[in-house]
Amino acid sequence: MSAEKMTMAQAINAALRDAIAQDDSVVVFGEDVAQLGGVFRVTDGLHRDFGESRVFDTPLAESGIVGMAVGMAMNGMRPVVEMQFDAFAYPAFEQIVSHVAKLGNRTRGKVRLPIVIRIPYAGGIGGVEHHCDSSEAYYAHTPGLTVVAPATNADAYGLLRAAIAGSDPVVFLEPKKHYFAREEVDVSVAVPPIGRAVVRRPGKDATLIAYGPSVPVALAAAEQAATEGRDLGVVDLRSIVPFDDETVCAEVRKTGRAVVVAEAPGFASVASEIAARVGERCFHHLEAPVRRVTGFDVPYPPPKLEHHFLPGVDRILDAVDTLQWEDAA
């Protein structure tokens, strides 16, 4: 198969379709995923094509969905479940933290849980409260989970295939604002494995570190900076857990300057972790403190105010400006 223009929703749909077709143990379930094809149409057509035993709607209960997935995985299946929106995964929090993340460890690896929890996440779509949370910190802080956040449609396909095929539970964060953006995707070309970051843009002056929905924003900022004579690199983490220290540190050591970009509120967040790690591991290469450009420490704002909350190009460039360029000269 060769490159095709598709949206991220279509890329994920294709990944689910191919996984279901290839492996009898893959099942897809959640709220509105069957007949409707999901509120974002991500599972469109799967129920029609694979039937009720492979793709089905559940009662409206997220703890139930995830808890049932645990049992199905214990009994040899590979459940891929959808939480309808980020904040609606919170009712399943106990199941995710106390069981999905820990059952493999609890049983000394006798039980493995190949579960993928798909979460349409983050903002930028004008959604009302509870529909735009960036909840990755909750999962990334929980040992035992793999946390993936694709930024490109090709990664959405490839990382989801890898997540479904693996033996461990994965929280798969799908940036909602990408669902309907078209990109060339060649599903026959393998993407790097989960755990590997990718340098989306090399840069000599400073390194922007981002994942998921913040990657295109970081790229746009780098684009803009280039017109102003500053050469910014962009690292796309792709997965938050495992974390690719090697790639991140290699880039930062080259530039001596780093800005972490993420949509979630910054306090005790994944951005904090990245800043702390980079500070710890690249200390002697740093010309300036690692800056974080994140959402503010407030609940996701109402639609008319979200643009003030979201880290944008200007805010990133402002942060880059504070990286003590004079001193470094």
Binding site: V298, K304, F309
Partner: protein, 358 residues
């Protein structure tokens, strides 16, 4: 638990049949009160229509319509006293309006201006809940607190058929029953949770039958029959007020429109099904009854329509008015005293905005 109680939880109570005739053995509703109810039904319907239009005009981001459920919307508000509380969902805009809150304030949420546009304490209406079933527990808390304080407040807690599957529904019903909290749980069973039909939500003989497992009375009622709803809900409110604890009421109704304008119901249900429900319109049967008993004539109908139009015009004007959202408001309400971190972030945003303006 008697056989009669079981039956009441399974067979929907009715006062008016679909043609607006009093069912056998039913006592006559007060015509004047019912005419007032009819007026509210017309208002609720008009509000649903107006909001739909505002969505099409791009003035509201989204609107979950309660078309077809107007009798539920009106009844749950009308059985409450001023001191009582209403806990609505996103679909219950018309109920909140029926309770007396200015619809323009209610629509603040769906305009995207703020998460909640009215003061919950003013009309004793909680913010519209989006996370399903969570508000039912808050309702129990308000009721239990009232009871501890010796107040006779009653709390009307709304949710949909889908929400009954959530753990919080269970915990709320059970807490209310155990604490004998003055709560009326009112489930508008409109047969769908977005695309998921009732059969995938529950295989119980009825949703009201769940009451048995909590040790509280459960009633099923025709959700398109205003007087029946007012009777069943009114009795539940009276029991709660008298200290007899909670009741679970299930309304048998139907969501005529899509889940919201963003939804396409044709993907999961047949037009026939909707067509079957249209003749069961909650307005028609009240109108037929009132007309038959002579409590509604053309003049009164015109008067009601005109008043509803006035309301709709006010909604159009209110929603259409320019609002100036204050970006700094996102920091303003989180803590009663802002943390140093928020003060810092607010200052940073202000500096950005100042720069933009300069």
């Amino acid at each position: 638990m008697s056989a009669g109680q079981l039956k009441a939880a399974i067979t929907p109570a009715r006062l008016l049949d679909e043609t607006g005739r009093l069912v056998r053995g039913a006592s006559k509703p007060d015509a004047e009160a019912l005419a007032e109810g009819y007026r509210k039904l017309v208002f609720a319907r008009r509000l649903n229509e107006q909001c739909g239009a505002l969505v099409r005009q791009g003035r509201l981001a989204v609107y979950p319509s309660s078309r077809g459920q107007e009798a539920c919307q009106v009844a749950c508000a009308s059985v409450l006293s001023d001191g009582d509380w209403l806990f609505p969902t996103y679909r219950d805009t018309a109920a909140i309006a029926a309770r007396g809150v200015d619809p323009v304030e209610v629509l603040t949420l769906l305009r995207g201006d703020w998460h909640c546009g009215y003061d919950p304490n003013e009309h004793k209406v909680a913010p519209q809940a989006t996370p399903l079933a969570t508000q039912l527990l808050h309702a129990v808390g308000v009721g239990h607190a009232a009871r501890l304080k010796g107040e006779d407040t009653v709390v009307m807690a709304l949710c949909g058929d889908g929400a009954t599957s959530e753990g919080d529904f269970h915990e709320a019903c059970n807490f209310a029953a155990v604490f004998k909290a003055p709560v009326v749980f009112f489930v508008q069973n409109n047969k769908y949770a977005i695309s998921v039909p009732l059969a995938r939500q529950s295989v119980a003989p009825s949703l009201a039958a769940k009451a048995i497992g909590y040790g509280m009375p459960g009633f099923r009622v025709d959700g398109n029959d205003l007087p029946a709803l007012e009777k069943v809900l009114g009795e539940a409110v009276a029991r709660a007020r008298a200290g007899e604890g909670p009741t679970l009421v299930e309304a048998d109704t139907y969501r005529i429109e899509s889940h919201t304008n963003a939804d396409d119901a044709s993907r999961y249900r047949a037009d026939d099904e909707v067509a079957d429900w249209l003749p069961r319109d909650p307005l028609l049967r009240v109108k037929a009854y009132l007309t038959a008993v002579g409590a509604l004539d053309d003049e009164r109908e015109r008067e009601i329509t005109a008043a509803a139009e006035e309301m709709a015009a006010a909604v159009r004007a209110g929603v259409g008015a320019e609002t100036s959202a204050d970006p700094e408001e996102i920091f303003a309400h989180l803590y009663s005293t802002p943390t140093p971190q928020l003060a810092e972030q607010r200052a940073a945003l202000r500096a950005e905005l100042d720069l933009e303006e300069a």
